[in-house]
């Protein structure tokens, strides 16, 4: 028993008692179950397990603090209407917004933030970290940290372009199908069914084997694969709007299909479409990351998170954490987008499960 272990338990038990005294039921349950879990893990894993638990609890607390501060910041700088909405956001959602904001900054200002260029060879292969290289060098001696920063621009940018393309195609087709109806609706619907009946990764592998792996091909293939999902949602949402009286009125006025879509249907179906955009982005991002990991996505020397994991995977067998950082960056962004989407869906559906 040393000071750390004693202090650790004293701290946890003290906090639980405080929570119980002030009738904070959920806080007490959380703290006390953490204490019990620490007992078990401490006996099994020894002091290092307690260190790990303390570190992860500290990281969680830091993340919660950052999200809280970021939410308050957003509430203060946005106009009144938006601020009222933002106030209802759970901590997870504001954490998500904070991460997305950080990634956007990293992506936009990559050349300024990164100390070295993405293809610049500055050291020996797998050189360890030092003062100039925060995370060490990769398999060709390029700075890991700079490549991760540039990856924010390349990987996220490519996924964004592909998502937008998928979205434009799917939403346009969906609204067209809803307003026109008839054989066009049937044809587009069946076409979407066929594309969705092949697993997305398999379908993209087939297409990439045929057309080769350049950026334009990846964007178009991924967009075609994910457009049917958007199509279905838009078709369903717009289908509910099309039967409204004001659409009938606009039709009687003699407005064309394009006007109906732009001025009547689109404004009335934005909420679910924005949430779908977030989800869609996650799928597209994960698919492109998977393809890059397989060596079939973004090609070297462009810095990209998926291929960085594969290139440096050998380091993992030496117990190094560095190759996992790009993969963790992918996971973190997808989680964050999901958190935000979760909140938006909850808000728009009024679901009180």
């Amino acid at each position: 028993m040393n000071m750390f272990v004693l202090g650790y338990y004293a701290f946890l038990i003290g906090l639980s008692c405080l929570a119980a005294y002030y009738n904070k039921r959920s806080a007490f349950l959380l703290l006390f179950s953490l204490t019990l879990a620490s007992f078990v893990l401490g006996i099994v894993g020894g002091e290092s397990a307690l260190h790990a638990i303390a570190a992860s609890a500290a990281i969680l607390a830091l993340a919660a603090g950052t999200s809280y501060a970021f939410r308050e910041f957003l509430v203060m700088i946005t106009p009144h209407e938006t601020a009222r909405e933002l106030r209802t956001a759970p901590l997870t959602a504001s954490f998500g917004m904070f991460v997305i904001f950080t990634y956007a900054i990293a992506g936009v200002f990559a050349p300024i933030i990164a100390p070295f260029g993405e293809g610049e060879v500055i050291a020996g292969a797998f050189a360890p970290a030092d003062d100039t290289m925060l995370l060490g060098a990769d398999q060709l001696g390029r700075d890991m940290f700079s490549r991760i920063i540039y990856g924010a621009r390349n990987s996220v940018g490519l996924a964004l372009i592909a998502t937008m393309l998928a979205f434009i195609m799917g939403a346009a087709a969906g609204m067209l199908a809803a307003t026109r109806g008839g054989w066009l609706d049937q044809f587009l619907g069946r076409f979407a069914d066929v594309i969705m009946s092949v697993p997305s990764l398999i379908f993209s592998l087939l297409m990439l084997s045929i057309f080769g792996t350049n950026l334009a091909v990846i964007v178009i293939v991924v967009a075609v694969i994910y457009a049917p999902r958007v199509f279905r949602l838009t078709r369903a949402v717009a289908g509910n709007v099309v039967v409204m009286d004001y659409i009938e009125a606009a039709k009687l006025r003699g407005e064309g299909t394009w006007y109906l879509i732009r001025k009547e249907i689109l404004p009335n179906s934005t909420a679910p479409l924005i949430a779908e955009f977030g989800l869609e982005f996650c799928f597209v991002f994960l698919l492109i990351a998977g393809l890059s990991f397989l060596g079939l996505g973004i090609q070297p020397p462009t810095a990209d998170w998926g291929s960085m994991v594969r290139e440096n995977a050998t380091l993992i067998s030496f117990g190094e954490l560095t190759p996992l950082i790009p993969a963790a960056a992918i996971a973190l962004l997808t989680v964050s987008v999901n958190f935000v989407v979760d909140w938006m869906l909850y808000r728009s559906s009024g679901l009180k499960g």
């Binding site: 066929v194 009946s197 398999i202 045929i210 397989l294 993992i316 993969a327 992918i330």
Partner: protein, 318 residues
């Protein structure tokens, strides 16, 4: 009962049509190649004679629809032609590997399904409590992580830092069943992590959807304890969506398996497909795609049929 059989038969027929359309898609996608297969495989430096010879060998002088029918007739009998790179029969290359992939997916499913359903019911029972929120965050994290991230994290902790399990799942025919389970534990665990999260969330949503219905309120008002309300009253009606969820996730496993096989160098179809794509070995790519798509369609079909069997309302479509 005759009604149900007719409905199921109709679904099966629809699935067969979908599969046929998908096979057309897979075959004619290769026809989109600039030039043709022979040129694409041999490259630009090939002489006119070699290209011509390869065309004859592949039968490219016949019209595409005839070649498609030929290919389809072969595929139905398990004959997918010959690999362009190794000259091996495609069916031989796939055969054993497909069994390995199915073994891995089944291994993951056997662990994942019970855990997911029990945990899903538990979080539905404790909904909106701190445990539900923590579970929500954890499952979202697990869903959002790419499979290779989870795989490498498991390798780092279970294979490198504490060598409990092998990092490379090298399995061969002569191994005992226990050895097989031990060696493919980490890839299976990776799949389990992803699939459990999906299934848990969907099970929770299915049960919570039901909890809003009046008969549940009735049960609650007559004083039944919360676990009894869920297990006795909600669960029987939730089976249909849960079966659906399970089948959809098994279908999802098919895609996830490709990345996991590459991470753990597991000798399955996914690994073969990825290799074939980078070597542009089209007969293998086509065959693998067809096998994956067929499994995917079959599982989706199973989800539909399961839903029809467990939910009498679906037997009388309006």
């Amino acid at each position: 009962m005759g009604d149900v059989l007719k409905l199921v038969a109709k679904r099966l027929g629809l699935g067969l049509v979908t599969l046929l359309v998908v096979s057309i898609l897979i075959f004619f996608a290769v026809e989109l190649l600039p030039g043709d297969i022979a040129q694409a495989v041999l490259g630009q430096s090939a002489t006119e004679e070699t290209v011509q010879a390869m065309r004859e060998q592949l039968g490219l002088d016949r019209a595409a629809p005839i070649r498609y029918l030929d290919w389809l007739a072969g595929a139905v009998q398990g004959d997918f032609g010959v690999s362009l790179v190794s000259g091996e029969r495609v069916s031989e290359a796939i055969g054993g590997r497909f069994a390995n992939t199915l073994f891995l997916a089944a291994y993951a499913a056997v662990i994942a399904v019970p855990i997911a359903i029990i945990l899903g019911i538990a979080v539905a029972l404790f909904r909106n409590s701190i445990f539900d929120r923590v579970a929500n965050v954890l499952t979202l994290t697990s869903i959002s992580s790419p499979e290779f991230f989870l795989g490498y994290v498991l390798i780092l902790f279970f294979a490198v830092r504490s060598s409990m399990f092998p990092a490379i799942a090298s399995i061969s025919d002569g191994m005992s069943f226990g050895d097989l389970l031990y060696r493919s534990f980490l890839p299976a665990l990776t799949l389990v992590l992803v699939v459990v999260a999906h299934m848990m969330r969907m099970t929770r949503a299915a049960i919570i959807n039901l909890l809003a219905s009046p008969y549940i309120e009735m049960a609650r008002l007559k004083g039944a304890p919360p676990w009894k309300v869920i297990v006795h009253h909600a669960l029987p009606n939730a089976w249909a969506p849960i079966i659906n969820v399970v089948a959809l996730n098994l279908a999802y496993l098919i895609t996830g398996v490709v990345l996991v096989e590459v991470v753990f160098v597991y000798p399955g179809v996914g690994q073969l497909l990825v290799d074939a794509v980078s070597k542009r070995d089209f007969p293998i790519v086509q065959a693998c795609c067809l096998v994956f798509a067929a499994t995917f369609i079959l599982l989706n079909l199973a989800a539909d049929v399961g839903a029809i069997l467990t939910n009498p309302r679906l037997r009388h479509p309006k």
